[in-house]
């Protein structure tokens, strides 16, 4: 409670800030409040947006004045909560990744930059369970935490015009997956055949804040098998 700040983000926004660091314990408090708000189901709360260290609560001040919302939030924060391990509230999602080759054109650079072999890069990258701290800035993009510092690599000096969806990259000490085709400056080390964002799917967003992500290296045969299944699903949905 002591470190919690409430900030104004316009007349329809309240930010509940728990700290100022990328910290799994801080993030767990954010997600716990998000879940508590959802369970409370206050009339006038439009939606909540969890980030690394804060929860943005969007509300209708004509239905729920800020003072009342703030005291409700304080009540939820004061309620005793079981201590949860980071990621405890989420799912573990395995993303198959074909590393290197044309899908991971920067694998060799990342290896060389860190004095590793490409195999070691793959091994370091695919061993942790990464925490999805938040999703943003574009639909489905996961901000992942937990990458080995031995893989840290600066961004490309000049971004690529087109990065294909599913591309797995490294930027500084972060790793991430591109849900959409977009320009991008991350070093690409592989690609997943799974769709992180597909509006037509029953679950349009594969990942949610609080999930854990594991990358599993696959060979080309398995990659194409996954891709085929994804395409058949997409085809069937279009036919419905």
């Amino acid at each position: 409670m002591d470190t919690v700040r409430m900030l104004v983000a316009g007349e329809q926004g309240l930010i509940v800030e728990f700290g100022n660091a990328i910290d799994p314990v801080v993030n767990a408090r954010v997600l716990r409040l998000a879940r508590a708000m959802a369970a409370r189901g206050l009339e006038g709360v439009l939606e909540t947006v969890p980030t690394y260290r804060s929860l943005l609560v969007l509300f209708d001040p004509l239905v729920l004045p800020r003072e009342r919302l703030a005291s409700e939030v304080e009540g939820l924060l004061a309620a005793p909560a079981a201590v949860e391990a980071p990621g405890a509230g989420g799912n573990t999602v395995e993303l198959p990744v074909l590393y290197g080759g044309e899908f991971g054109p920067d694998l060799a650079f990342v290896a060389q930059h860190n004095g590793l072999s490409p195999e070691e890069v793959i091994s370091f990258h695919s061993s942790p369970a990464y925490l999805v701290y938040m999703i943003g800035f574009t639909p489905g993009f996961p901000y992942l935490g937990g990458m080995s510092s031995r893989l840290a690599t600066p961004r490309l000096p000049s971004p690529r015009v087109k990065v294909p969806p599913g591309s797995v990259g490294i930027a500084g000490n972060q790793t991430g997956v591109y849900p959409l085709e977009s320009p991008g400056g991350w070093r690409l080390i592989g690609r997943t055949p799974l769709r992180l964002f597909d509006v037509d799917a029953e679950r349009p967003f594969l990942l949610a804040p609080g999930d854990l992500v594991r990358f599993r290296p696959v060979d080309e045969e398995e990659y194409w098998a996954y891709l085929q299944v994804e395409e058949i699903r997409a085809f069937e949905r279009r036919g419905r």
Binding site: V49, T51, F197
Partner: protein
Amino acid sequence: MIIVLSPGFLTTVQDEGRRGYRAFGMPYAGAMDRYSLAAANLLAGNPPGAAALEMTLTGGSFRFEEAAYVALCGADMGAALEGAPAGNWAAFPAASGATLSFGPAARGCRAYLAVRGGIEVPAVLGSRSTYTRAGVGGVGGRALVEGDILRIGPAPSAGPLPARRSLPGRLVPPPCGGEVRLRVLPGPQEEMFASDGIDTFYSSPYKVTDRNDRMGYRLEGPAVRHKGGADILTDALAPGAVQVPGDGMPIVMMADCQTAGGYAKIGTVIGADLRLLAQSRRGDAVHFLQCPEKEAVAALREERAAYAAIRERFPDAGE
């Protein structure tokens, strides 16, 4: 059906926006000028948030393949129905086969064309709004092109189409563009700005640059000085937020804005005033005025009261 003879500069299907998915990185999209969207829909006899066309700077040309009841609000693009002036902030029947054409807006930026029954495109995640960056919503997730065919949805109420009608003058906002005053609620990171930086922000005129779109408006003028750095640990963004990056030039986030960002936010433009910026274009002047929260909430209440007044006047409009 409506046939798009020419789309204009940038015309998209927009409704009140895609709500409830910002936690997954999905922007609202939706009309940039929500008052004009709501007024057009209510005039047409629709619920205020129904799907309509949002035209930008220069409007298009459309042929109705069935009789329709059409409403126009927002920037005046010199609408002509079969060559005769069609007016603005008004609704009128269009016969089957009639062509409705628009030109460039003399001032302002965005015009809304609503039809009774709404523009019928599939709802994606609960909204018909077009979000072009992800190819979601509207017609194929993109701006309209020549030859597109738009279906008109079922009318909310049966009965003959009303005659021509106009929005009462007191509910028509003053003409847009040129120079706007935007009321701002300070925060969430005002403390990251130097006190002379805050003074600069609230006392200087800014100009809309050519880097303005549905995502955000970049402004130029005297630099707003931070105390230290401009970067924060990435946190949530919503429309209205005023980000100030290291160069000190404010960026006001708009309907399509990304859900997270890493620059300090000096304040948030109040909801009722955001439409004024949406109606601004390159070269227009912007002034920021600090505003107490009470006033921001009162402005929102006035906006809702205006919708209620329109609905009272034209009771065939839906909820």
